[in-house]
Amino acid sequence: MPGPGFCGLSPLRVFPSVFVVAALLGLLPVLRSHGLQNTVTSKVSTMGLYIGPGDGDVTSAPPEVSHEVHPVTNHSGPFHGKPRKPFPVLGIDYTHVRTPFEISLWILLACLMKLGFHVIPTISNIVPESCLLIVVGLLVGGLIKGVGESPPVLESKIFFLFLLPPIILDAGYFLPLRPFTENLGTILIFAVVGTLWNAFFLGGLMYAVCMVGGPQINEIGLLDNLLFGSIISAVDPVAVLAVFEEIHINELLHILVFGESLLNDAVTVVLYHLFEEFAGIDHVTLVDIVLGFLSFFVVSLGGVFVGVVYGIIAAFTSRFTSHIRVIEPLFVFLYSYMAYLSAELFHLSGIMALIASGVMMRPYVEANISHKSHTTIKYFLKMWSSISETLIFIFLGVSTVAGSHHWNWTFVISTLLFCLIARVLGVLGLTWFINKFRIVKLTPKDQFIIAYGGLRGAIAFSLGYLLDVRHFPMRELFLTAIITVIFFTVFVQGMTIRPLVDLLAVKKKQESKRSINEEIHTQFLDHLLTGIEDICGHYGHHHWKDKLNRFNKKYVKKCLIAGERSNEPQLIAFYHKMEMKQAIELVESGGVGKIPPAVSTVSMQNIHPKAPSERILPALSKDKEEEIRKILRNNLQKTRQRLKSYNRHTLVADPFEEAWNQMLLRRQKVRQLEQKINNYLTVPAHKLDSPTMSRARIGSDPLAYEPKPDSENLPIITIDPASPQSPESVDLVNEELKGKDSVLEEEEEDERGLVMHPKEPSSPGTDDVFTPEPGDSPSTQRMLRCLSDPGPRPEPGEGEPFIPKGQ
C-alpha cells in the first residue's frame, strides 16, 4: 500500500487507481497463457517499467506470474516417459475457462473504471464519462499491444447482439411517452429527412472531394461515398444518452435529440443495405430507387409491428403470472429481446422493434406485476445498460489501437468538416420548416443545442466494421475517418456542451416531484382541451388521444390486465404510487415510530375543520396515548409468518413489506375515520376502502389472503377513553393482531377513542378497524370492516368484501 502523500494524493484517492492498475495487471495471466513462457520474465519486467514510477507493488506482481507458470513446465518434465503420472494436486487448465474468464475480466474492468471515476469527482465534472472510458480503452489497448498480443476489436456481432439491446431497451421501456408523442412529428422529420439529407449531402460532397483529392482516394466511387455517408450520418443513441444524461437539459430538447437518435435507425438500416447491395452495380435504375423507397416503409413499419406484437404477447403473459412472481422480470426481458432478434432476422429495424415493444407492454405489465418485480426490472435494465455503455466506449478505445488504419488527410478532414456543416444546415432548414407547424417554436438556442448534440458513436463504427474488405477495399480508410469523427464528436462536443449549455442559459430540467395536484390539473386540462377542440370542431391532438384512451379502456385493458385492475383509472393508479412512495419514505426515515421532520404537519384538521366540532368523543391526552401504546406493545404479539410449504420459487412474505402495508392501511383508516365520524349512521354499507389499500393487497401478493367470512363472535377490544385509564381494562386480543404502535403514531392524525374489532384473524395482512364509538350495530361493524375488497367493485351494498385468491 503506498504510503501517505504518494504523488500528492491521499491514500484514499490513490486506492482506486491501485485497483485499476491491479485490474489491468490481472489481464496478464490471460495473455501469458498463450504459451509465451520463456519470455515471461523479460516481458513482464518491461511491463513493470512501462506502467509507471517504480513502485513496490507493481513490480512484485510479475514474479508471482512466473511462479504460476513454472509448475506446469516442471510438472511435465520429469514424468516424461513414465507410464503412470502421480496424481496432480494442483493443475492449471486455462483453456477450459478461457472465454467466460476473459469476458468477466472485461466487465470487471468496466465496472472498476466506473467506480474509479466517481470516487475522483474533479475530473468527472469536466470530462464526460464517455471520454474517460475511451481514454481507458486506448490505454488498455496500448497495454495489450505493448505486450505483443493483438487486442480484441469490437466485433459487430457482439455489439449488435449483446451490447446494444440493453441500452435501447432501457431507453424504450422508460421512454417518457407524453413528450415523445407530443413531439412525434418533429422527431420523425428530424430522424428521417434529417438523416437522408445528411447522408446524401455528405456522400455527394465526399465524392467531389475524392475526385480531386489525390491518387489515394480517386477510385472511390459515388455509391461507395454514399454508403459512407449513410454510415456516418446517423446520430447515435448511445453517445447521446451518455452525454445528455449528465447535462440535464430541459425535457423538450432531450426528447428531440434522443428520439431522433432512436428513430433514425430505420433510415440507416435501409440506406446501408441499399448502398451495400448497389455498390457493385454501375447502373442504378429507377426501379431500384423505388424499391429502396418502399423498403424504407417496410423496414420501419415492420419493425414497429414486430415490436407491438411481442409487446402485446408479453402483456398478455404477465396477466397470468400472479402465482410465480419470481420470473416476471424475465418475461419482460426475454420478449423484448426476442422482438429485437426477430426484427433483425428479417432485416427490419431492430431498434424500432425494441422501442415499440417496450412502449407497448409497459402500461399493462406494470399494472399486472408486483412491486418487487417492477423494482427488479428497473434496476436490471439500468444495470445492464450502464455496463453495456461502459463496455462499448472502452472497446471503442481498444479497437482504435487494434485496428489497421489508413490515414488520408484530405479524406478525414473533409469528412469531419462536412459532417458538421451538414448537420448545422440540416437542423436550420428543418427547423424553419417545422416551426410553421409547431405551437411551441424552436428558438435559435434550441436549434443550436440540437445541432450540437448530433453525436456519432459506436453504431457507425460497427456498421463500418461490417463492410466486407473484398467489396470495399477502402474499408480501412472509412474506419479511420469514422473513428476520427466519433472521437471528435464525443470528445470535443461532449466536453464543451456542458459549459455551452450554461453559457447560453438553456432551460434545464426541472427537478420537480410529480405531485398529486399536478396530476389532477393535467388530467383536468386534458378533458378541458378535448372539449374545446370538440367545440371548435378541430380534430386535434387531444381528440385522437381521447379516442385512443377510450379504445384502450374499453377493449385492450380488459384483455391484458389481470382482474379488477383493468378498471382502474389513471388518477387512482397515480395516487397509489404516491402513497407507496410516502409510506416507503416513512419507513426508511427511521422506522415506524418517528415523525419525519420533512413531512408537513398539515393534516385533515387544517383543511376540514368541521370535524372537531362534531367530534363525539373527546380526544385522548398525550399520556393516555402513551399508556395505550405501551399496553398494546407489550400485550399483542407480532403476526406469525404464514409460511406455506416453502419452496425456492415462492416469495415469502417478509415482515418489512407487511409492516409497510400495515402502515398504509392504518393511515388510510385513520384518515377516513374522521370523515366517518359524523356520518357513520348515514353512510351506506359500502366499501370503506381506499384504492391504496386494495392495491396493497393485490400488489404484495403471492400470499393469497383467505378471507374469513364475517363473524360476529370475534373478541373485541374496547378502550373506553371516558373512564379513567387503566391498563387492565384492555383485553387481550387474539394473537394475529400485530403491534399497534404504528397506528397510534400517525404523524398527521389525532387519536380517537379506540374501539378495535379484529376481523378475519387468519389473514396476516389484515388490520383492525376503528369504529367511532363502542356499541354500534353489526351493520356498522360490517361496514367498517377493514379487510379490503379489491377496489372498484360493481356491487354496492355488498357486505362481504373479499379478495379472490391469488389476485
Binding site: 411551441v440 395536484n517 378541430h538 380534430y539 387531444h542 383509472p569 387544517n606 383543511i607 366499501k687 398527521e748
Partner: protein, 187 residues
C-alpha cells in the same frame, strides 16, 4: 351583434378585444353558427345550478376561445406573464364553482369526482381521499408547516399560481386554430 358579422367595424372591435385575426374570427363565426343552429346565442342545454350561464352569444364565445390561443414568440416577459395569469385565472374559475375566490375542499372534491366519474366502478370514497390528499399537499406547499388548530380555508388564486409555478401552462393550454379547415360536424 347581428348576424351581419362581416361588418368590418364589429370585426375590428372583436380583433381588438380578443386578439384573434379576422380570418380566425370568420371561421369561428361559421362554427358558432353551426353550433347554435343559426341563432344568435347558444343555449345551455344542461340544467345548471347557479354559476353557469343560460346562453352565450358570439362575443362571449370568442372571449372564452381567446384563452386558448397559443402564445406568440414575439411576446416579451411582461406580456408572457400576463398571458399566463389570464390562462390560469380561467382555469381557477373552472375549479371555483361558487366564485368566491377560493377553491374549498368541497369544490375540489367535486372536481376530482367528476374527473373520475367516467368510471362507474369508482366509489366516492376514493375520490374523496384523493381530493383530501391533494388539498393537504396544496396546503403544505402554500403555507408550509401548520399548527393543528390552524385552518386552511381554501386555495386562493395566489396559492393556485404557486402550485402551477413549475408547470408550463402556456405550452399546454392551447388549441391550434391554424387548420380550421378540418371543421367537422358535431357527432
Amino acid at each position: 351583434m347581428g348576424s351581419s358579422q362581416s361588418t368590418s367595424e364589429e370585426v375590428r372591435e372583436l380583433v381588438g378585444k380578443t386578439g384573434f385575426s379576422s380570418d380566425q374570427i370568420e371561421q369561428l363565426h361559421r362554427r358558432f353558427k353551426q353550433l347554435s343552429g343559426n341563432q344568435l346565442t347558444i343555449r345551455n342545454l344542461r340544467k345548471a345550478p347557479t354559476g353557469l350561464a343560460d346562453e352565450i352569444n358570439f362575443e362571449d364565445f370568442l372571449t372564452i376561445m381567446s384563452y386558448f390561443r397559443p402564445i406568440e414568440t414575439n411576446m416579451d416577459e411582461e406580456q408572457l406573464e400576463h398571458c399566463r395569469k389570464e390562462k390560469l385565472r380561467f382555469l381557477f374559475h373552472m375549479y371555483d364553482s361558487d366564485s368566491d375566490g377560493r377553491i374549498t375542499l368541497e369544490e375540489y372534491r367535486n372536481v376530482v369526482e367528476e374527473l373520475l366519474s367516467g368510471n362507474p366502478h369508482i366509489e366516492k370514497e376514493s375520490a374523496r381521499s384523493i381530493a383530501d390528499g391533494a388539498m393537504m399537499e396544496a396546503a403544505s406547499v402554500c403555507v408550509g408547516q401548520m399548527q393543528p388548530d390552524q385552518v386552511y380555508e381554501g386555495i386562493t388564486f395566489d396559492d393556485f399560481l404557486k402550485i402551477w409555478q413549475g408547470i408550463d401552462i402556456e405550452t399546454k393550454m392551447h388549441v391550434r386554430f391554424l387548420n380550421m379547415e378540418t371543421i367537422a360536424l358535431c357527432h
